[in-house]
Symmetry: C2
């Protein structure tokens, strides 16, 4: 299969990134970051997750944030939902697109969602039905699709079985998440071999973590399968509290720079994203693992944006 | 061209890594690190550079270190030399293998070596002749082979011209260094297209920096050209004082893990290297950019090595 001519980057930093840090980003600051990401060319941004506000105070303002988002043609905001209460809150917020996510790993599902995989799948399918009935755009995603720290490699047939159910229920987009960063080119290829025939014309997104330093190597393997939607986070923020040694998502500006070097269009100005990342390092008083925000610090035209 | 079945990793942390940090590693500590790297399966280790001891105090013990190295069958130690005085000191130390290195970029050559590229090339060739006459094993390397922050992309024809001279002078190994981390798959392919036909049967090594996050992506591109020797540094240490925003070399344990996932033999136990990297973070009181030394911290069997 040929590499795509264009790739969509789904910015997940305001959700996956901000959720993983202890400091809570004030809503007005989130709005400013999101506006700058839109100005940098990002067309899809995951802005929040609807999780328990006491357990995850970083996301407690999800509803309020969504109501204040800058409207712009061609820009889609999404929110992550993991359970029924979250979906109800998401619908009340007025957001038009949700991601409904569950883990392929039984042990990860118990830790992260408090229920066995089979329960999570049945509940997830009912949430998908409810969201679709309400007219929402639905992306359904499989966590731990490329391995689990407790269970090792999850059989590709199990991933395919979950994806088949998602397709039968009529979701708009499929996504596979390398929650643990255990993906490698052969694993990516093995899972895509099993899943892509089921997806048919449905778009398939990958959500890659760089825990083992293979995020962009895995992106290259998936590009060669024609995958053209990738989640990324500014500065390479993000992680998972249940994955030891977890690193962040693949970095938005690093990914945009790589794709530009390959002649693949993203519409994302990695220098502008890098400027936002530098401000986030200043806000959180720490370094994030991405690279291009450091390199572009020496390219003055975008310095002050 | 097929991917290689086996890859040689040349550990450059004790040189490129230790040279870039302010704190000077005591000789006995360097010897302990090197012994543990050998125990982890590394067969080629660059242990020092012969540079001015007042300018680079981290390498002032090069001669003394080399005389105390643990001798082991099949393990080759090398030292980097950049000028005639350095070569004289290297020969006096008794080391059997040297790397003679010069920059393809005129501006980088002036900053790093204090002379224009043309001068550096003529002097480098005379050093190569001298080292070969003395019976040393000689690796000749081109810095900035995939781009220069001042000059942009260096034409592949210029890289090829330098390599041709190295081959004519009879070096044993060729090496191309991505000093600035400006390599990308198309650049790697373009330079290899120009250089590999000249190399003939001479082994060609790549020295990749991860400044823009593309180190392992570039390694994958080179593997597909059959390149089977890569410089790596424990924990992803290293950098270059003349490259703004420079990150380290590709990380030894991350690279060994990636190659293992591809079924390519290295003989390197990445868990053991990771344990050394964690100790180096404790010594330097900082985090290095590699990943697997964090992940393997949770894999107890090698914890205390």
């Amino acid at each position: 299969m040929a590499m795509p001519d264009a790739v969509t980057l789904v910015e997940v930093g305001p959700r996956d990134g901000f959720q993983f840090e202890q400091a809570v980003v004030p809503t007005h600051r989130k709005l400013s970051v999101i506006a700058r990401l839109v100005a940098a060319g990002l067309k899809q941004i995951q802005v929040a997750s609807f999780v328990h506000p006491e357990k995850v105070p970083q996301m407690a303002d999800a509803g309020s944030l969504i109501r204040q988002l800058p409207r712009q043609d061609g820009v889609v905001y999404t929110a992550l939902v993991l359970n029924r209460q979250g979906l109800d809150r998401a619908m009340a917020s007025g957001i038009a697109a949700v991601e409904i996510s569950l883990s392929a790993s039984d042990s990860h599902s118990r830790k992260n969602a408090g229920m066995a995989h089979d329960d999570a799948l049945e509940k997830g399918l009912r949430m998908i039905d409810q969201a679709l009935s309400a007219g929402l755009h639905v992306r359904a995603s499989v966590q731990c699709a490329f391995g689990c720290v407790d269970e090792g490699q999850i059989p590709a047939t199990r991933i395919a079985g979950i994806v088949r159910r998602f397709v039968e229920h009529g979701v708009h987009v499929l996504a596979l998440a390398d929650t643990t960063g255990m993906g490698s080119p052969p694993r990516i290829e093995g899972v895509l071999d099993a899943v892509l025939p089921l997806a048919g014309r449905l778009p398939l997104a990958l959500h890659l973590h760089d825990t083992r330093g293979l995020g962009l190597v895995n992106l290259m393997a998936a590009l060669k399968y024609g995958v053209s939607i990738f989640d990324t986070a500014l500065a390479g923020m993000g992680g998972c509290p249940f994955v030891p040694g977890a690193a962040g998502n693949i970095c938005t500006e690093d990914t945009a720079h790589l794709l530009e070097s390959l002649g693949i269009h993203t519409g994302v100005d990695y220098r502008r994203v890098g400027a936002v990342s530098r401000d986030m390092e200043a806000f959180f008083l720490k370094s994030f693992p991405g690279r291009m925000h450091r390199v572009t610090a020496f390219q003055p035209p975008y310095e002050s944006r």
